[in-house]
């Protein structure tokens, strides 16, 4: 049962990691904004035209003009420690800007890049900043974590399949006399198979249940153990416990592995 438990535990760990990355990517995507910094000398007409043009693409949810004073207030609120530096400055260093919020999942990276590059060449726009890269990277990591999980988990689940199959085979061999007697007194193959199937299913279920328990402990203990030593990586490397659908999926996979392992070994024996 240890190997069954380990197989599902490894799949579960990658699932938990992938869940976290996906969630981080989702939060980032929801907050994805593009800031178009304008020249201080930009006329109100040009600003209005830019506002209109930025709002035009269907993937832009909303646009907002941010005055330099507003930007400074926002900065002071976000970084109170740096408030004194700003007080000593004679002029407001923040340029006016247009903040555009992107609809999550509605634009492809290529579309956004094209849009940003077009806008960058417009008179009055001095610089553009957006966090598309991060979202893309996060989604990529999430997919990678899941793929690694599926790959490693798949190999280990295959190993558990053979292990369950061999455990049942040994059991079948140990009970071959009993099976022989059952066949001689007229037992159907189904009658003989069912106890072995149940044994396989119970083995698989217990293994995956144990792995869910261990995973729960890992997701709780891991952050406590590492504390804040991971720094910025903590957000990326923390685990999100599988939701009930994923947990049920792992249990079902355990039961299915157990069932298939036992079914193949009993079938082979009965055919012989």
């Amino acid at each position: 049962m240890t190997i069954i438990c380990l197989s599902f535990l490894i799949s579960g760990i990658f699932l938990a990691l992938s869940n976290n990355l996906r969630e981080t990517a989702r939060v980032l995507a929801e907050n994805m904004t593009i800031s178009f910094f304008l020249d201080r000398t930009t006329s109100p007409q040009t600003t209005a035209a830019l506002l209109r043009d930025v709002a035009q693409p269907p993937f832009i949810e909303s646009v907002r003009f941010v005055r330099p004073e507003e930007a400074m207030e926002k900065f002071q609120a976000s970084f109170p420690d740096l408030r004194d530096i700003l007080v000593n400055l004679k002029a407001n260093p923040f340029p006016p800007s247009i903040e555009a919020r992107v609809r999550s999942k509605s634009a492809s990276a290529a579309e956004l890049v094209r849009f940003v590059q077009t806008m960058k060449t417009r008179p009055g726009v001095s610089d553009v900043q957006f966090n598309q890269d991060w979202v893309e990277k996060m989604q990529g990591f999430s997919r990678l974590a899941r793929a690694v999980g599926v790959f490693l988990g798949g190999i280990l689940i295959l190993a558990s399949f053979f292990i369950i199959s061999n455990v049942i085979k040994l059991n079948v061999m140990a009970r071959r006399n009993e099976i022989e007697i059952l066949r001689l007194v007229g037992a159907t193959n189904l009658f003989i198979r069912i106890p072995f199937w149940l044994e396989g299913i119970v083995l698989g279920l217990l293994g995956s249940l144990l792995s869910l328990g261990l995973l729960f402990i890992i997701t709780k203990v891991f952050p406590l153990y590492l504390g804040s030593s991971l720094g910025a990586l903590e957000q990326l490397l923390s685990f999100r416990y599988p939701d009930w659908r994923q947990a049920l999926g792992l249990l079902a996979a355990g039961a299915a592995t157990g069932f298939m392992g036992s079914a193949t070994s009993v079938s082979k024996f009965l055919k012989n």
Binding site: N177, E180, R183, L184, G186, A187, T188, F191
Partner: protein, 221 residues
Amino acid sequence: MIELFHVWKQYQKPFWALSDVTLQIRAGDFYFVTGPSGSGKTTLLKIIFRELLPTEGQILIDGVNALKIPESKIWRLRRQMGIVFQDFRLMFHRSVSENVAVPLQVTGVNRKEIRRRVFNTLQKVNLHQKMWEFPGRLSYGEQQRVAIARAIVNNPEIILADEPTGNLDPELAFEIVSLFKEINRQGTTVIIGSHDRELIRHFGDNIIFLQKGRIVGKEGR
């Protein structure tokens, strides 16, 4: 009725375990199949209960071609039969009553009925007082009686016994064959494979003599 037509069986070339065996055993008959070791007694019995398939020939059990029954449906044939072996083939981790109950459990008989029939059958073989014992604690004669009880508990039409007295002393052997006689008197066809001449002389109504896989003689009353 058990009918064999020109049955041949070969395990390994060039030896024939059975050669051109043709015989008819009517319902309710009591038969001994005898012959020296390696004459084909066990092979013949195994072919009748479809543990083995013949190399050639046909077998009809109650008019049904036994060779046409698919592997997955052999249980239908086996439920018509009770089989007893020289080595008893009991489940030693189960009690006497649990061993006898097995043929009824596999046919889906309810628990109450199983209890009643197991007790009645154990009474017939005079083992009802040891129904909770485990076979390992019984004598060979008692173990064989448990095997017989298991073979008759579901009232089969045919009993096949392969050397059922091979491990028993002469007194016990007589007792066991008397039991088969009693079962036969109630209408069950009984075929016993044995090389015990004394027993055959005493109980043999119908005898088939086998030698090197061939029927070399038949006696019948």
